[in-house]
Symmetry: C2
Subunit: 194 residues, 2 copies
DNA sequence: AAAAAAAGAATGAACGTTCATTTTTACGTA
DNA sequence: TACGTAAAAATGAACGTTCATTCTTTTTTT
């Protein structure tokens, strides 16, 4: 067990270093040697845990995406009303993007560049299913507009990525008030108008 | 004139090649040699037009951003009502993102990665002033919610980037109906509720 | 014919990955 | 428990390639 434990620690250190360095420098400007150094490991050791650099970044993406969605849906129950469920998930996502900023920034970069293999991208999308199910329910109950899932995501969820990024760049500070406003904007854009 | 003309053609070819290659491969996976080849030019020639690779990509960003905002505000007049003005600008931006997809994808990549110098990023932001002025007017007239410009942008404009990207990836097709729905979602999220 | 522009080849540095070796771990035996 | 040993894990150095940039020469322009 001690053996296995140690390995997992190294693997985690490598993934953490990858996230931090790629956030600051981008994928191709992040050499394996620097990742190794930050993880306190020899460059050669990386290849005991990952096939190559592409595999390292693919796996990092999938792990972070899984973490993100796990957090987002952690306290959600099918028994909640659509409105309550959406608000909860939205707030959890906002929470994640602000608290786990490094992780969320990494995801944003992956989602907006050719950094990740298409296969890994698909894999990452699967984790969003609970949200799609909630929307389906909302549409059936006539609470959420009958829009495509992509449009709903674009207006209800994705704006948080933009806010996170400019917050990280220091021009904007998202406080409690802003968050409530942002939630209202999100909900107004997808709820059925009276 | 013929001399100067020829130079501008080469410069444009270099910028076009940069956009296309960076879109498909990312900044650091785009060698100067390939940019040169695509522009039908020797690698050494690039250095007659740009200081180095970073300068090439910075200048490309600023030029494309200027093109984007020029298109967005081309038919807008201060004399328009806030609602009409916003709708017009929104539609022009949507139009640009769908028609000039390559250019818009390039901007999205620049805005979500450490690819561009901070200085060039600032330079690019300046071009958005007419939109900020419109919002200011809308707030004063009590038509647009008194939210920060960043929040307004996140909900009214930025979702279009998300839609463009997934459209480019082929999972989603933005048609006339979708566009009208998207506009309504945008407007609902920022307009003052009755 | 001088100056400017462009070209291809050359250079040196940096990178991903592999290789040969050392260190650590796991475990059967005394 | 202590030891010896084979396997596993980890390492630093080395390899071959790629790339941004520069240098020297050629071509084009004026």
């Amino acid at each position: 067990m001690a053996k296995l434990q140690k390995s997992i620690d190294k693997r985690n250190a490598l993934i953490k270093a990858t996230i931090e360095l790629v956030n600051n420098n981008g994928f191709h400007a992040t050499p394996m040697s620097k990742i190794a150094k930050m993880a306190n490991v020899s460059p050669a050791t990386i290849y005991l845990y990952f096939e190559n650099k592409q595999d390292l970044v693919n796996k990092t993406y999938i792990e972070v995406k899984a973490e993100y969605t796990k957090y987002a849906f952690a306290t959600y129950k099918d028994s909640m009303s659509v409105e309550d469920g959406f608000k909860l998930i939205w707030q959890r996502i906002a929470d994640f993007k602000l608290k786990e900023c490094e992780n969320a920034m990494f995801l944003a970069q992956c989602d907006n560049t050719p950094m990740i293999d298409e296969e890994s991208r698909q894999e990452g999308i699967k984790h969003l299913q609970p949200l799609l199910d909630l929307w389906e329910r909302g549409k059936q109950e006539g609470i959420i507009k009958p829009l495509s899932d992509y449009l709903l995501y674009a207006y209800a969820i994705n704006p948080l990525s933009f806010l996170m990024i400019i917050q990280k760049r220091g021009v904007f500070q998202l406080d409690k008030t802003h968050l409530e406003e942002a939630y209202q904007a999100a909900w107004n854009s997808i709820k059925v108008s009276l």
